[in-house]
Symmetry: C2
Subunit: 224 residues, 2 copies
């Protein structure tokens, strides 16, 4: 299936969070819970992305979200749990969005590679604060949460590697394509959200960015 932005909306992601943790979340009524959770998560991503997750105090979060200190703890039992909840949704969204390409795309390695690049950039654009949070903060996370982030990154790289390997086998990509290529396409994809402010400042359109990364990637492996 092609990329569906609706499954990456704030609403959808918070609803999923609520569902995944309905046993530990103290608020019973979904309409109450969803409304507040969205406010909390929005504020948490914003504060974290500006000062770092560690530097975001729960008093900051309380003030920014308008939810009292005690109120916050109806949604998570520790600051680390909040981190894990957000991280879980990001990694799930990555897998959901990249795992099943349209049939006609999956059959064609070059199309598959182009599709992965296109979908990844669109997904990160849609979930910008989530990705900024999950992968720029990752190195300061506790061990278990850091592992979640790196596993998710390696999964993306594995999808790229799969498409490229298939292309090499079928002859549309050169046999001497560098084995480092999948690892190096990854930072090209990540730059869209890591340096988002720079590209915005320069007026770079998402479509231009996608096509440039696609061109660089294909030029590095295409058999001409």
């Amino acid at each position: 299936m092609s990329f569906d932005a609706r499954t990456c909306s704030l609403d959808a992601l918070c609803a999923s969070m609520l569902d995944r943790h309905r046993d530990t979340i103290g608020v019973q009524k979904p309409e109450f819970a969803l409304r507040k959770l969205k406010v909390i998560v929005t504020a948490a991503l914003d504060l974290s992305n500006r000062k770092g997750f560690q530097a975001m105090s729960l008093r900051d979060l309380s003030l920014a979200s308008g939810v009292s200190m005690g109120g916050l703890y109806a949604y998570f039992d520790s600051k680390t749990t909040l981190l894990k909840m957000i991280l879980t949704e990001v990694t799930a969204a990555v897998k959901r969005s990249l795992s099943d390409p349209p049939a006609e795309v999956a059959a064609d390695p070059r199309a598959h590679l182009l599709w992965l690049i296109d979908t990844h950039v669109r997904m990160t654009e849609e979930m910008l604060p989530w990705f900024t949070f999950a992968f720029m903060e990752a190195k300061n996370f506790p061990a278990e949460e850091r592992r979640m982030a790196t596993d998710s990154e390696e999964l993306t790289e594995a999808y790229l590697a799969g498409a490229i390997a298939a292309g090499v086998r079928s002859g549309v990509f050169r046999a001497d394509t560098s084995p480092l290529l999948p690892a190096l396409i990854k930072p090209l994809l990540q730059d869209w959200y890591v340096k988002r402010a720079k590209y915005r400042r320069r007026g770079v359109k998402m479509q231009t960015y996608i096509e440039t990364v696609q061109a660089i990637s294909v030029a590095a492996c295409d058999a001409h």
Copy 2:
């Protein structure tokens, strides 16, 4: 001049720090000061890169370096000053290493581009913990220090852009080379230190990495 690893050693960088801040550093004798400063900086980079600069407490730093709390403040007057001192050395090292290529390299745009890539990777390898600190932590820095980091990044990109523009003018690079190319070579260079652990785990040699990034970059702009 070509890349000189000696100017990027711990000794050289700490000596430079000492010189730059000799008026605010309370320890008079250089032999005392340099020895301790090296220990402090080494520990600070290590702790910061594992837990984040914000999360590194000065008590952690005191314990890891073997220098007492009070002793630390003979070298900086605040935690932010320590940050700024390290950042200053990194940005100076970038400018020093990349600003003047050998004459025969500067005259040839393709050689210049290859040289910038080679030199950047070698420099970041030599100063690995410094770069990890300066650019992975940057987004959580106070405004002024964050600006230092981004300015340094833009300087590197400007060097790449200069070499590529010269190549386009002289016809060795295609006229329709993407204007995004310099911005996108940057994350390829950064991946060497951002994901250093991954490349080490996979046994990727620095020379292989350099050559692959060079090949991808040239393939994206070469006139064939």
